[in-house]
């Protein structure tokens, strides 16, 4: 359990550092939004909803 927590903390820290660096650079986080909103299941789900 402790090892899992350490792994999560490490990954969260890396992700936060990435976001902070992105914001410092151009004041926005680059997030490939279409990655989260595209795909056959997502589209079928959207149509179904």
């Amino acid at each position: 359990m402790d090892r899992a927590l350490v792994k999560i903390q490490f990954e969260a820290k890396a992700l936060r550092a990435l976001g902070t660096a992105e914001q410092a650079r151009d004041e926005r986080r680059s997030d490939p939004g279409d990655l989260w909103l595209a795909g056959p299941y997502t589209e079928a789900n959207r149509a179904g909803n």
């Binding site: 992105e22 680059s30 997030d31 490939p32 989260w36 299941y41 079928a44």
Partner: protein
Amino acid sequence: MRATRLGWVLLGTVLLAPSALAGGGDGPVPIAEGPFTQGECLDCHATRNPALVAQWRAGPHAAAADCVACHGERHGALPVARKDAACTGCHEGVVAHSYATSKHGVLVRIGRPDWSLPLSRGNYRAPGCAYCHLHEADHGDTMDPGRGPAVCEWVCSACHAPRYVREQLAAGDRLADIARLKRVEAQSVAARHPDGVASLADLLEAADRHLRNVRLGAGHQSPDYQWWHGQPALDGDLIRLRGAVAQALREGAAAGENRPE
């Protein structure tokens, strides 16, 4: 006295042997008890019941499970082959667990079925593995989708109303269709990873397992496998895949911009 009894037994054996070898059908012909080898099983049964042996040869078990594996080495072991334990010795893991946690599996476990009865309509309150998959001594797989929905509907409708059966099967098909869409989406998301799909092989294998869980859950009517081990697990796979790809793209973009000109 003992010698006399032995003499009668020997005489009986000699008199009965020709009729047993003559292959007079599957009637109650007294024959030796065994033990038998696989070859000896086939020597007789290929003549006595060629259709059954041919079905076994063409079916999924021919490559993995011989006569002895399910029926044991001796005659009179049909009840053993009908029990779930005969199947779960090989079909372990999620296959057995998805059935054991289904309502069917629970009912069989608490219901103490009479395994001496043939796997026919009306003989069992709840279906064990063999009741559905080896129905009426089927030696292929009765639930093979290749046989068409009518076979499946017929087996289920021994206990359930036909309309209910059709609705449940249609719901199972929809569940599986949705799960397959998620798996296709997982592949398309993984394809966008800068290091290629192979770098996400673990997550894609997990998605394969969870897709299988949905199908097993639908087939065995196990809500745990349809849902907790199936659909939400696939949703989690998609989230983890998207997270991994998004982070890799962001890191790649950051590294590209920081590169000295």
